[in-house]
Subunit: 165 residues, 2 copies
């Protein structure tokens, strides 16, 4: 995690620090209930932590905060909560960053693509219906049965383009 990222807090994240986070949290609870799984305190708090962050967080970043709040302080605590969230569509894993970010649109079933800014490390979730369809087609042509996919783009977010202009 670069200081750079921590310093430039005004980039792209579209779910941080706002009333929006509340709404997403509520959606998350509904979704958990609908699926018959429990959004326990650690899990809920983990989601909140992700929502508050303006960049994707590493598991150890999350862990540090959890530990400081009286939850367990060993890696599995964070990884379990994060994996739970990912499994149930409440968060996403960003493989390029070895990090996690809250899902901006839980509830809706959606295939997302992630736009990762090289300058500020912000991660934006973009609708990826078309991308996903195209990929399904490519897979089908190869006789491959597609289960799920990771689509990550790297480049410059709008804010950082302006900043570097």
């Amino acid at each position: 995690m670069t200081d750079h990222a921590a310093a430039s807090s005004f980039c792209c994240a579209d779910h941080s620090g706002t009333a929006n986070a509340q709404a997403i949290l509520t959606q998350a609870e509904d979704r958990a209930k609908a699926r018959g799984v429990r959004l326990t305190p650690v899990r809920r708090r983990t989601l909140e932590i992700l929502l508050q962050a303006h960049v994707a967080l590493g598991a150890y970043d999350v862990l540090e905060r959890l530990g400081a709040e009286g939850f367990g302080s060993q890696p599995p605590v964070a990884y379990r909560a994060l994996n739970f969230l990912v499994e149930h569509g409440l968060a996403h894993r960003i493989r390029r960053l070895n990090a996690f970010t809250a899902c901006a649109h839980p509830g809706e079933e959606h295939r997302a693509a992630f736009l990762i800014c090289e300058a500020c490390d912000s991660v934006t979730e973009a609708p990826a219906r078309l991308v996903s369809d195209a990929l399904a087609l490519a897979a089908a042509e190869a006789g491959f049965r597609l289960e799920r996919a990771t689509i990550e783009a790297v480049g410059l977010c709008a804010a950082c383009q302006r900043a570097s202009a």
Copy 2:
């Protein structure tokens, strides 16, 4: 790396153990020359190792082989060679597997998607023009300047579908 993967060597890899590897190696040399970079012994050998493998290899797998052949035996040796190959389009990094695979079509400029089989760990490179175009569109809509992207699909390759039927 599962033993499973090592055991089932007949899945999808389309560039291993054949005259094809020779051809790709030649293309790689041409490409290096064209770009004014050097395909040194470690780099070349690293590419050969990837070409011979029927699955994507972790950096430490590659390192082990390199070390056994008299090259350096410390991680940076492998990472440097692998990063070189990736940078120049001679290999691809498969993030979901923390692994690398030789590019099946060096020379051609191409955007690839990777089809990763959950059963046998094989990685197939699929043409991704359409996927890439769709992604470019999605990025543009977000005002994002796309530099490059990673597209990885997970599922079952054709061979493993038949095997499990």
